[in-house]
């Protein structure tokens, strides 16, 4: 079962998007840009038009807890707004992106199959640049102000790409490490100490095979940390731009590091897990004693499902870990744009955010700023943050921004070139 859903979503979205922009531009130069007459600033009219619409929400369906949550959302949108919300459960989000491109290729500018898509990073930046998304609409939503985007700029940044109102946030994630406190007393808290610890404890760590999302995330985390050790250059600027001809030099410490640790990984790095879920069951079965996830609530929700022992604890590296926000977007050929906007706005409401955060099996991280929850809700959220296995809010405050999406592509390509062909 997918634990906290964002992390697993990313894993299944790995292959998506890195579209060749050149091709997109050529393919769509002929297709008319469709901006239908939706007045995003007139919210009462949007709500009225949304009633009776059918909204196809394309979102990864590999997590039963998330699927159950979305079917609750669907029941609510039906009874409150008269919107029929249909969750199209994707095994892999790339299929939705592929289909969107194929539809535009075939000149389908009005009868698209998706009304709302869970998007992130590379695929968002590619679809936005190819003008395949409807917008800007996100900041016109009444509930958007609750995320307090002026204080939290990551609500307007998707992997360093400005969302410009084409995407609405709905959940957030951060890389955390976890271990069984009965087996491991003092887990490593930096990349270097991870290496030292692995030499003494061979076979007790591994990572999902890139381009599995979580594996690539670890590569990015290590790259940023190792670069910060060696250079005085401004890391933020270095990684907020696409990698250039200095990629080889910048990434060299990462490959040297991996070459050193691979002989000490589980199965001596001859096979890697496919997903974070497999990593979790390897930890639960004591094959490894240190694992990681891209969701702060991974451990709490997994303990509640019986997939991790109650003695499992989680933490964040000393210099911080990668974090980002998950978004939903509307294709510009979506037939039910008003309905999709109403659904996105509902997903941002304190009620839905609180429900998703306190659902023990889902434990999604809210995107709303804390003071927008009621006092009672705040009390419950604070109580949850003290649960065994939860990461403390002070540790979570140590966030590292995602590098520009093109780093992901380059890192994956190079990893596959070096290790993907076997030995």
């Amino acid at each position: 079962m997918g634990n906290s859903f964002t992390r697993t979503f990313f894993e299944k979205t790995r292959l998506i998007a890195r579209p060749a922009i050149a091709w997109l531009l050529i393919s769509f130069s002929t297709s008319a840009l469709c901006q239908s007459s939706v007045d995003v600033d007139n919210w009462p009219q949007i709500s009225a038009e949304a009633r009776g619409q059918r909204v196809y929400f394309h979102a990864w369906g590999g997590d039963t807890a998330l699927n159950a949550h979305l079917s609750w959302v669907a029941a609510e949108t039906m009874s409150r707004f008269g919107i029929e919300l249909i969750h199209v459960k994707l095994a892999d989000t790339s299929s939705a992106v592929t289909r969107l491109i194929a539809e535009h290729d075939a000149g389908n500018t009005e009868r698209g199959s998706a009304d709302l898509i869970w998007l992130n990073g590379e695929n968002f930046s590619a679809l936005k640049r190819a003008n395949l998304l409807f917008g800007p609409w996100a900041e016109a939503q009444p509930n958007f102000e609750l995320v307090d985007a002026d204080r939290f700029p990551e609500m307007r940044q998707d992997f360093g790409v400005r969302t410009d109102g084409y995407e609405s946030p709905w959940t957030r994630s951060q890389l955390i490490f976890y271990y069984d406190s009965e087996r491991l007393i003092e887990p490593p808290r930096t990349a270097q100490s991870l290496k030292t610890w692995l030499r003494e404890n061979p076979g007790e760590f591994t990572y999902p095979r890139p381009p599995a999302f979580l594996g690539t995330t670890l590569l990015k985390q290590l790259l940023i940390e190792l670069t910060a050790e060696e250079t005085t250059a401004d890391i933020e600027t270095l990684f907020s731009n696409p990698p250039n001809e200095s990629f080889d030099a910048v990434s060299a410490p990462l490959w040297a590091f991996l070459d050193e640790i691979h002989p000490y990984l589980l199965r001596e790095a001859r096979h890697f897990p496919q997903s974070g879920a497999q990593l979790r069951s390897a930890l639960n079965d004591r094959e490894i004693s240190l694992a990681f996830a891209f969701s702060p609530n991974e451990v709490v929700s997994s303990i509640s499902r019986g997939e991790l022992a109650p003695s499992t604890r989680s933490y964040v590296f000393e210099s911080g870990t990668l974090s980002n926000v998950s978004f939903v977007a509307i294709p510009n050929n979506a037939p039910s744009k008003q309905g999709a906007m109403a659904v996105a706005n509902f997903l941002l409401s304190p009620e839905v955010q609180f429900k998703a955060a306190t659902n023990a099996k889902l434990a999604s991280e809210p995107v709303l700023s804390f003071e927008n929850f009621t006092h009672d809700q705040q009390a419950v959220l604070l109580e949850n943050a003290r649960a065994p296995g939860a990461v403390s809010p002070t540790e979570l405050a140590r966030k590292i921004q995602e590098p520009h999406p093109s780093w992901t592509i380059e890192l994956e390509r190079e990893w596959l070139r070096r290790y993907g062909g076997g030995r």
Binding site: A20, D63, T64, S71, V88, A91, Q274, A277, R286, G422
Partner: protein, 572 residues
């Protein structure tokens, strides 16, 4: 050739051709110097002649692509070989014994289990944290799982084993169906009068006669094993994965270079599958020649020498196939345990806590997928039965030959699924056919049709035509003959064909996913989507749900004829 046969050729051939062309064409796209590219489907191509299309250059330079291709090729050859050897030895060793018949009945439920579920079952048995390792751990007092690589090993032993576990029962049932027409007991008796022991006698006299009858199904096994996606994902190597797995990874990527790469890989896949067939044909000849020599030289002394292997052959035949069947069934039992288990940490043999959460989660979302799966299966099977009957009836009335058609029907099974299904999806998109249940049912029809047709064809061949002649002399029209004589007498074959078709349709993944564009969820697509969850409990639950319907069909196929013919003799 009758008009019905021609129609069937067109109905099956046109989509196959169009699908394959559309899937393979992007591989030949050229980038122009100005950065645009030349799509062979949209423009009259004026690319520089003599240049290798860039997709092939990329494909060749992909790290580990040769290893991937070799893995697929080897899986395609070793799986049918292992299946055939285990089935032949089993049949030879158990010829007339009761135990053999009992074990053969175990094969039917294993056949009904979808490939992915069987692969999970095997992984759950043999992984370092699997049931086998837990048993050893309990005896030896281990606390931590051993760090060995078997499942997903680059040598692909686990992949071949997992495929053979599913294919051997298939080959066994096909062989059992064909066995009566080889007159096996008399052949064995003749060889025994020459001094051969029973197992050797069977292998020398019945095996060569049986082989031509099960050859085409074996070819389908070769192609399937060399191009399988789901089993290779679960059991196959990951550094690098098999060609088919990489192909699908490239196919779902949205950027055009990856699509072209996927098309080039599809062409390579086709080449690998055909190469596997070619190498198999070569081995067929070599083995046939060797066989002929052995049989011809069979002096009593030689026979005695071969007989010394009799004991070994019999022992292997008695154990190999039954062990593999038991392994799968134990794995399925382990899946059942996992589906109702809560915490189940290594090295516990049984879950330490129990929970129905996996079942309640699955059952709360099962209605739509179940309805879709049944509707698609019924639509495609009904179409296949009606078309098969129309064609066969037309052939019977005109007494035209049918051999070429039955070979042709194997084509959808001989072209790797990924190749032509993705082409059909492109075609549907271009012609603006929306993804729908009907389109998916149409895709399923291709895979259901061969089995339904061949089952019914054997029914037509077996029915004594004098019954129809008798009816005609009594003044019955052809229509009356069909409805009042043929259909009732063939009801066993009709039920078998229907149930076989339903089973196949219910477990198809790729056509459902690609043609349905995610809008037509079935039990199988839901199960595969949840595979990524990595939880034993969830996987166990859905694997069992996915196996339940096909198993039910198989049971009906066995039971219904017994009920219908309960008051008749000699109809089963």
């Amino acid at each position: 050739m009758t008009w019905a046969t021609r129609f069937l050729f067109l109905l099956l051939g046109a989509p196959l051709l169009v699908g394959s062309v559309l899937a393979l064409a992007p591989a030949f796209a050229y980038y122009m110097p100005d950065g645009s590219f030349n799509d062979p489907l949209n423009h009259s191509s004026n690319h520089p002649a003599g240049l290798i299309p860039p997709a092939f250059v990329t494909l060749v330079s992909t790290p580990g692509i040769a290893t991937s291709a070799m893995t697929s090729l080897l899986a395609g050859l070793l799986t049918p070989a292992l299946s055939l050897v285990s089935v032949y030895l089993f049949l030879a060793a158990t010829q007339t014994r009761r135990a053999g018949k009992l074990i053969a009945q175990l094969a039917a439920p294993v056949l009904a289990i979808p490939h992915a579920a069987a692969a999970f079952a095997l992984a759950l048995m043999l992984a370092p944290t699997g049931v086998a390792s837990r048993l050893v751990a309990t005896l030896a007092g281990w606390e931590l799982p051993p760090d060995y690589l078997f499942i997903n090993h680059p040598n692909s032993v686990a992949l071949v084993l997992g495929l053979a576990l599913k294919e051997a029962p298939f080959v066994l049932l096909v062989a059992l169906a064909a066995l009566p027409s080889t007159d096996a007991p008399r052949r064995v008796a003749l060889a025994r009068t020459l001094g051969y022991r029973p197992t050797t006698a069977w292998l020398l006299t019945v095996a060569p006669a049986l082989y031509p009858l099960i050859r085409l199904p074996l070819f389908a096994v070769i192609v399937f094993a060399s191009s399988t996606v789901d089993v290779a994902l679960i059991l196959g190597p990951s550094l690098p994965p098999t060609l088919s797995v990489r192909l699908v990874e490239w196919f779902v990527a949205p950027e055009i270079e990856q699509r072209q790469l996927a098309s080039a890989a599809a062409l390579l896949q086709l080449f690998i599958s055909l190469s596997a067939l070619g190498i198999w044909l070569l081995f067929e000849r070599l083995i046939a020649r060797a066989y002929a020599t052995i049989v011809a030289r069979g002096t009593p002394r030689e026979a005695y020498r071969v007989a010394r292997f009799e004991a070994v052959l019999t022992a292997v035949g008695n154990t190999l196939l039954p062990t593999s069947l038991v392994l799968v069934l134990m794995g399925i039992a382990a899946l059942c345990l996992a589906s109702v288990g809560g915490q189940w940490r290594y090295p516990a043999i049984l879950p330490t806590t129990w929970s129905l959460q996996h079942w309640s989660a699955a059952l709360s979302t099962w209605q739509t997928p179940l309805f879709n799966a049944i509707a698609i299966a019924l639509l495609s099977v009904t179409a296949a039965i009606v078309l098969s009957l129309v064609t066969l009836e037309a052939q019977a009335r005109s007494r035209a030959g049918t051999a070429s058609l039955s070979t042709f029907l194997y084509l959808p099974l001989l072209i790797p699924q990924v190749v032509f299904i993705s082409g059909i999806a492109v075609f549907a998109e271009r012609t603006r056919l929306p993804p729908s249940l009907l389109l998916v049912a149409g895709g399923h029809f291709f895979f259901v049709m061969p089995y339904v047709y061949l089952t019914l064809q054997s029914g037509y061949a077996r029915l004594d035509s004098r019954w129809l002649l008798l009816a005609k002399t009594l003044g019955a029209s052809s229509t009356v003959c069909f409805w009042r004589v043929r259909v009732p007498l063939m009801s066993t074959q009709l039920i078998t064909a229907a149930m076989l078709g339903l089973t196949i349709s219910l477990s198809l993944y790729l056509p459902t996913q690609i043609l349905g564009a995610g809008r037509v969820p079935t039990i199988t697509t839901e199960a595969i989507a949840l595979v990524s969850s990595g939880s034993r409990g969830t996987i166990g639950t859905w694997a069992l749900l996915q196996s339940a319907l096909p198993t039910l069909c198989f049971m009906l196929a066995l039971l219904l004829p017994r009920l219908i013919w309960s008051k008749r003799k000699g109809m089963l």
